[in-house]
Every structure is written in C-alpha cells, then in structure tokens.
Subunit: 138 residues, 4 copies
C-alpha cells in the first residue's frame, strides 16, 4: 500500500494576545500556528525538530504563503492540519489548513524550507530524514 | 506626468524579541514589518489607516506571501519599501521589499486586502480612498 | 468546608516563535502564558472571559510582575498553575507559577486587573462574578 | 560633577499587531518596548548589547514589573525613557517610563538582569561594563 501524503493534526486555542483591534486573530499568528502544526508533524514522523537541531540541521523558512478565508476569534479552538505531499529534494514543502469546529476552513497556506548545516551552509536533506520519510510515504 | 506606482520607505530595527534560537529574526515578523510599511504608505498618501477605521472601513489581510532571501539579525536596521502597483478594484494588493543597508535584499512579499464595513460586510473601496489614489497615480 | 484559594492548571508547549537568540523563551511570553492560565481558571469557575466581555465587562491588566527562575526551552511542555487567593474587591489579583515536568519552577508572577464597562469606565466587579467566586471559595 | 543616574529616550510607534480586541496595546508588548529602550540606553553608553554578546556575556531578565496607567492605542507614538539609577553589583536594575506626547504617563516598570557567561553560568559584571558605567555616573 502506498501513502501519497503524510499529515498530522494538532489544535491551538486563540489567545487574547493573538487578537487585534479588529476583534480577530492578527494574520501573522497563522504562520506561528503553521509552525505548531509542523512541529507535531515531525514529532509524529519520529523526527522531532529538536533532534534535527541537536544533530546540527536547521530548517529555515524560505517561503511562506497564507490565504485567509474566515477570521479566527478569541478562545476559538482551531485544528491545524499539516501535510507533506511529496518527498523533499533540496527543499521541503509543507501545506496547512486551519479549521474551526473540524470543518470550517479559516485559512490555508504553505511553507518551503531549506536545510542548513550548523555553519549556516545549505545542505542536502540528511539521510536519516529521507529514510524516515520513505517509511512513511511507503 | 504619470506615476506607475506609489511607494514609501520606512525603517525598523530588529528587536531581541524578534529573534529565535536560530539567531535570526523569526519569519512571521516580516508580516508585521510589512504592516509597518503599509501604515506609512497610507499615511504618506494622506489616508492614515486610523482615519479609515474611524470612517468605518477596515482592510483585513486576505492573502500574504513572503520569500525569505537572507536572514535579518538582532539590532539590524532594516528598510521596508512598500508599494502599490495598480489601482485597487475590489481588493488592494501591496508589495514589499525588506532591505539591509539600503541595498541587500532580505525578503520580498505581498499582501492582498479586502474592504470591510463596520458590520463586517465586504464593500467596494470608498470613493475618498480611490480619489486619493487617483491623485497619487497621476 | 472552606477553600482558601481557587486554582487551575493548564499546559502550553514552547514554540519556536517564543525563543530568542539566547536559545530560551523570550521573557514577555510568560505574560502571555499567564493569560492562557487565567483564561482556563475563569472557564473552570464557570465564568469564561468571552462571556464577561459579551456582558460588557473587560478585565484589563493594571499591574504585572514576573520572577524568572529557570529558562524554558523550545518544545518544553510547561504547566501553568493560576490561582486567586482572595475575593476581589475593586481589583482582582491572580498569581501564577510556571513549572516544567510538574515540579521544576521556571517562573512565578502575578497580575492585577481592574473591571471596565463597555464605555471604558472603571466599575465594581459584577454581582454574577462575585457570586460565582463565593461558591468557589466556599 | 556627578550624575546620579543614566538615562536614554527612544520612541516606538504602536503597531496594529500590538493591539488586542480591547482596542489597546496588549500588555506584554510593554516588556518588548522596555527592551527597545534598554538597547538604546546601552548603545548610548557605548556598550551595545550586540558587543556584549560578541564578548560572551548575556543579560537575561530575572525579574520584570510593569504598572499600566493609561492604554496605548494603535499608531500612538510613544516615548520610552530608560534609566539606570545605581551602579550594578551582581545584578543590574533598569527602570522605564512609557509616555505619550512626551508627558502623559502610560506605564512605568523595571527589569532586573543577571550576567551570564557563554556556558550559561552566572558571572560578575565584566570590568569593561563597569568602567563604562563609572565614566557615565561620574
């Protein structure tokens, strides 16, 4: 059997600190929620981001995009669905959906990440990372 | 004479609060810096955003994109160049470049905004807004 | 039986966005975590803050203090213990402890809040608020 | 002549991102503004914080306190007055006032900082730091 994508779900609650004077969550917070989703996706894969950093690899964001469909409000409980749709080559692309009550789409977006060594040089994805993904995409 | 775009420059200094443990500014801050640039662009146009809200119009972000080229570091003094390249129709699109030392490109991006009435309904851009822009695009 | 304080526990995970280039959570985030704890304390009491705002009462922070004992790190799972130690008079004081692994104290602090009406005037704590607290302190 | 305190003034403009749904700046932002003030105070002293970190010393916040007097609003231009009132011993204490229109007090507070070596051990304030301060307090 083949899985054609890897995904993970996590939830966040909108904090008062996240709101702005329009009475909704300020738009840059969605990028932070994407990060929360990404962290859980990697943990689910058995590749916690803390471990990657401990092994000397960081995954800086090279590109980020978000489409805001409906506003998130204070105290809303949101579901973040994070997915990797294809095996990474030099870069890895992740996509996200932010839902309310498990079905109302608030936002969707993606991030693209490079791989950096400890000295800050772009490197290829490490073998242990690709191996884990191959298991998961199997 | 015709101007084919409206632009404004402003500067921000990277705060310690903006950094993350990679030692660079966390990526969601660029959306906040875009907002700082947008606020100054509107003030330059004679359309301060505070006035628009006072007149009952808000400009929520519908879409945001950012391409990260080089990292911003703590205490860097950044230049944000914000531009409107065409007259808005139902929506307004703004583009941004974030530079260091006036010439090194750190990031570029755009935001797309809708117009909302006080009751939260999408509305057409108000006439005073379009009139001001027509003057500027002259 | 008399309870001499009301308390609630909640947990937050340290996000990458929360870290700074010292490699630890930036200090202002603790005030946000206190807010998360406070929100859950009020929900536990049967007084969700959303409901108070819906009834026209807000609880702005008048004073905040935090003592930082040990650093929180990326991906740490923290426990926030929020407590109200006495019946509020004109103001309400809440205290907080932030723990790691349920026993290591990272920080402790407090916030003091006033009560504001929708028009922004200081008011006395509403009766339904005091009644709920009386039940809980019983 | 003797100066009995060292102080510096800087200004920040309240961003939309700083506001919350009460329509005012969220309270944790004041700690960030204190940081902005502190950074400028140290630059004025000839001790930029970037240089201290380059020399292996960091100044983590051990304690922070803020009293909120009046609300800061979106687009307000604030003055941050940061001061050091006494020569540091093992720790350094800084105090802050946040003003609007140079005279209306919005908030006042303080932070207390320790000195850490690169390995994260508490150390005494470095000699070059104390020497600079002695010049300034002279």
């Amino acid at each position: 059997m083949t899985r054609d994508m890897i995904s993970a779900e996590t939830s966040v609650r909108v904090r008062y600190a996240d709101t702005d004077q329009m009475g909704v969550a300020y738009h840059s917070n969605y990028l932070v929620w994407f990060e929360v989703g990404r962290t859980e996706l990697m943990r689910d894969l058995g590749l916690p981001y803390t471990e990657m950093e401990a092994r000397g690899i960081s995954l800086p964001v090279i590109e980020a995009w978000c489409h805001y469909v409906r506003a998130a409000k204070y105290d809303d409980c949101l579901t973040i669905i994070s997915a990797m749709n294809e095996m990474p080559r030099a870069r890895v692309k992740l996509s996200y959906r932010v839902l309310k009550e498990d079905s109302i789409l608030l936002a969707e977006g993606y991030t693209v990440h490079g791989f950096l060594s400890e000295s800050g040089k772009p490197v290829r994805p490490p073998k242990y990372f690709l191996d884990k993904l191959k298991e998961s995409f199997r």
